[in-house]
């Protein structure tokens, strides 16, 4: 068995695909590529594919990860070429790396995400108001919001999960830069801090038409930052 980690970008027009649709796209592309996929055991075998982090509909990304397991040996660049040919417009493989089988699952180690968010403005914006809103955010020790999920609303403190939050006013829009907690434990959605700040400083931006772009996914351990391509699990020891 061979385990490969694929680093790819999800670009236009595929930002409209959901996580489940992405799983379908990769499963079918891997099959079309004729790769010797490894399957789960049981009555309903499915290919052993695992994503790093679910990407919401409407979000593009430069830095996504996917692990696949194959039954036979293959070179990383060979898989890169075979798979790229079978991917629809909007999915670009950046790097493929063979990783040790016992490497911890992407899901369990990725804990940081960086985003670039562009929110169209519905009226003229004040740079000062925006600065005050951001200052307000950093001054607080906790920023509790209500998150609506399928199961109901729950309270969530944004503050400990936001590590960087910058914004600047551009003509007709506000451009945001952020690093937030991502993954299994605390997962901050990029529009959550944006919404809090813009409401605080009464900036009217259109969140519905926001462009959200994930610029990076990585692993932070004891103050050190690792790319999922390099992290095999024993770094923190």
């Amino acid at each position: 068995m061979l385990r490969l980690r694929i680093n790819y970008a999800k670009e236009e027009p595929l930002r409209f695909l959901s996580h489940l649709e992405m799983l379908n796209v990769f499963t079918r592309a891997l099959r079309r590529a004729g790769l010797p996929l490894a399957y789960s055991q049981g009555f309903n075998p499915h290919p052993l594919i695992a994503f790093g982090s679910a990407l919401a509909v409407r979000v593009t990304s430069d830095d996504e990860y996917l692990d696949v397991r194959l039954e036979k040996e293959i070179r990383a660049h060979e898989l890169h070429n075979l798979l790229q040919k079978q991917l629809p417009e909007g999915l670009k493989i950046k790097k493929v790396k063979i990783i040790p089988l016992q490497t911890p699952a992407l899901m369990s180690v990725i804990n940081r995400a960086s985003y670039l968010v562009t929110t169209p403005a519905t009226e003229k914006l004040s740079e000062n108001a925006l600065r005050d809103g951001l200052q307000n955010f950093w001054d607080k020790s906790s920023v509790v919001i209500e998150r609506v999920t399928k199961k109901g609303t729950k309270k969530l403190d944004l503050r400990p999960g936001v590590f960087l939050l910058e914004a600047r006013v551009a003509p007709k829009e506000v451009i945001w830069n952020m690093v937030v907690s991502s993954g299994n434990k605390v997962n901050i959605r990029p529009l959550e801090p944006v919404k809090w700040v813009t409401e605080k400083c009464c900036l009217s931006v259109n969140l519905e038409l926001a462009k959200i772009h994930r610029t990076g996914l990585y692993i932070e351990r004891k103050g050190r930052k690792f790319s999922p391509l390099d992290y095999v699990g024993n770094e923190a020891l």
Binding site: P13, N24, V25, R31, F43, N44, P45, V57, P88
Partner: protein, 628 residues
């Protein structure tokens, strides 16, 4: 247009991947360099339309021709329609995001009557006049085909040209003629003369070239051509040999989870069973099988080109396919290592079918579906469903023993001659299957046995032996449903229904004539659309529309027609003779069965002779080779 839609509209709608048009194997051809441009319009949502094999066939066929291109459009969901109307953006094709109106031909497929309001709505969203008579050279030719085209009359005012029968045969001929008439210009100018000339192609019906007449008492009297050189009868087109017919070897692979998310391979066309209510079983005669060797080759190619993990062997009754068992054996063993699974759309009611199900279904979770259709032997003889209670219990018994816990049973109520005892028969049969399952299972599994009973209402369909029969009134159907509901109430039996109001509208349009056009228009104006979806269906608006237009819908749905009266679809020839239909109808009333022409002698429906074609069974060596 594309960037505006992607920036401002798609972020606001649900399931936006319906509207991307960049699915794997979608074809984008040069607009400027292709002389004839057609858009395939499916009058329902993307996930329904993309599950339709006919779309994939026509899509591949037309796009392989150098001179033609074919794109797709579906009924937009309600949120999308709202955005299009707000922004004033015309309905657009998925591949090139061009307005539907820019195409030379818009081809609707008519799969069910409840899609008719969607056709009007789509034309309106496309800024194309709804009535054929109001269209000019700036409009595409509006075409329609598919099973409901066998009674085209309710849509006659809205459609320029109908195609009858197998589309692979006729579509290229029409588009070729259109190319000639366009003569290198960007648009077709001679709209009328093109339609006139096209009416000469076998299988084409141009409704504006015919006038319908009615007598003083409101009965349809006939349809006559308004010009001399127009054919009085229109005969459906037939693919004679399925092995030579085009097959879609690069079907589009949707992003979205659609209704049938798998490879569909057509193992045969037509059905020999001869159920007397079934329109498909009559209008797609005779049976034409595809050879197993070719099927294997096609499946191999489809698996490579799509990446799907499941293959469905489709047809009207796949278990009847001559070589089904050796074919399935081969497929299952050849594809085991690739983890490709196979499925059968429906199962014949016998133990052979259970053998097949065992072969393909590794889990026993999904349940098996059988369609006895009626509750008593007498009723099943009336509809010519050649199965006995014994057949059913043997099949379900084998299924329970093989590990299935859930059985789905399909029944129909309101069938001709139905009596109280036939309803009781449905109850008894369902209960008998339930107790059979409980008896056959050990104490651990006994509690898990479930029977799903699905009950639909009979809809008389044109070109069937039951075309003269009335539909029960909604009141009677409701009473029958209540009767069954009260007596089948059990935690182990799940009942599901087809709404009687929907079945009623379906029957009205199935047997309708041209006088329904104003009603359809009115209903659409009032907001009727997506009528096939219970959450959108507005019977109250339909009722108002009938009332305002002075049409009694029961005249169409609930009346017994006489053999002597002229029928609005008499000008459409399916190849099955009227004599056969009458004979079958009489035999039904006498509770007499007609043998399956696959096994018994020819029952004389007339299709092979009139179409100059033979039924094709692919028996012989293939089976023998594999059995060894």
């Amino acid at each position: 247009m594309r960037s505006k839609i992607h920036k401002e509209i798609l972020p606001r709608v649900s399931k936006p991947s319906r509207y991307l048009g960049t699915e794997w194997n979608a074809v984008r051809k040069s607009w400027e360099e292709t002389p004839v441009k057609m858009v395939f319009a499916f009058p329902d949502l993307y996930e329904i339309g993309m599950s339709h094999l006919g779309l994939q066939i026509i899509y591949g066929l037309i796009n392989e021709e150098e001179d033609f291109l074919l794109e797709r459009v579906f009924t937009p969901a309600e949120d999308m329609e709202l955005q299009l109307r707000n922004y004033g953006i015309p309905l657009f094709s998925l591949e090139s995001y061009r307005p539907i109106k820019d195409f030379d031909v818009v081809g609707f497929t008519l799969q069910y009557e409840l899609g008719y309001s969607n056709i009007l709505n789509m034309l309106d969203l496309a800024y194309i006049p709804l009535e054929s008579s109001r269209r000019d050279a700036s409009c595409p030719i509006i075409m329609a085909g598919g099973p409901c085209a066998f009674n085209p009359e309710p849509l006659a005012d809205f459609i320029d040209l109908f195609v009858l029968g197998d589309g692979e045969e006729i579509l290229p001929e029409i588009l070729d003629m259109l190319k000639t008439y366009k003569n290198g210009r960007p648009r077709l100018r001679a709209r009328r003369s093109f339609l006139h000339a096209a009416s000469g192609i076998k299988g084409v019906y141009v409704p504006s070239l015919y006038r319908a007449s009615y007598n003083g008492s409101g009965f349809f009297e006939g349809l006559a051509p308004v010009m001399k050189d127009i054919p009085e009868k229109i005969t459906r087109r037939v693919v004679k040999d399925l092995d030579k017919a085009f097959f879609p070897h690069k079907p589009i692979v949707p992003y979205l989870d659609i209704v049938h998310d798998r490879i569909m391979v057509e193992v045969m066309r037509g059905c020999t069973r001869g159920c007397r209510f079934c329109q498909a079983g009559m209008v797609y005669r005779p049976v034409r099988e595809r050879s197993p060797r070719l099927l294997e080759k096609q499946i191999k190619e489809l698996v490579q080109k799509t990446g799907h993990g499941e293959v469905s062997l489709t047809s009207l009754s796949t278990t009847d396919y001559s070589n089904i068992k050796p074919l399935l054996h081969n497929l299952v063993s050849n594809y085991a290592s690739d983890k490709i699974s196979f499925s059968l759309p429906s199962l014949r009611i016998d133990t052979f079918a259970i053998e097949l199900a065992k072969l393909v279904q590794h889990t026993r979770k999904t349940g098996l579906t059988f369609a006895p259709e009626a509750g008593t032997q007498r009723m099943r003889d009336v509809i010519n469903k050649g199965v006995t209670k014994n057949d059913l219990l043997e099949a379900t018994g084998a299924a329970f023993r093989a590990g299935w816990n859930m059985i789905k049973l399909y029944f129909m109520i309101g069938l001709p001659t139905e009596r109280q005892e036939d309803l009781d028969g449905i109850i008894e049969l369902a209960q008998e299957v339930l107790s059979q399952g409980r008896n056959l299972k050990g104490p651990k599994e006994r509690g898990r046995v479930r029977i799903n009973v699905s009950i639909s209402s009979f809809v008389p369909k044109p070109h069937t032996p039951f075309q003269w029969e009335p539909q029960d009134s909604m009141e009677v159907l409701r009473r029958k449903q209540n009767y069954l509901r009260a007596r089948l109430a059990s935690p182990k039996i799940n009942l599901s229904w087809h709404g009687v109001q929907m079945s009623f509208i379906e029957a009205v349009f199935a047997r309708g004539d041209r006088r329904l056009a104003p009603v359809l228009y009115e209903a659409w104006k009032k907001g009727c659309k997506l009528d096939g979806w219970a959450e959108h269906f507005r019977y109250d608006l339909w009722q108002q529309s009938f009332r305002e237009r002075g049409i009694d819908p029961a005249f169409y749905a609930c009346r017994r027609l006489s053999y002597g009266e002229k029928l609005p679809w008499d000008h459409i020839e399916t190849g099955v003779s009227r004599k056969f239909l009458i004979n079958e109808h009489r035999k039904a009333l006498q509770e007499a069965k007609t043998p399956d022409c696959r096994f018994g002698k020819c029952p004389g429906c007339g299709v092979c002779e009139s179409m100059d074609i033979e039924k094709h069974f692919k028996r012989g060596r293939f089976g023998a080779e594999i059995e060894n």
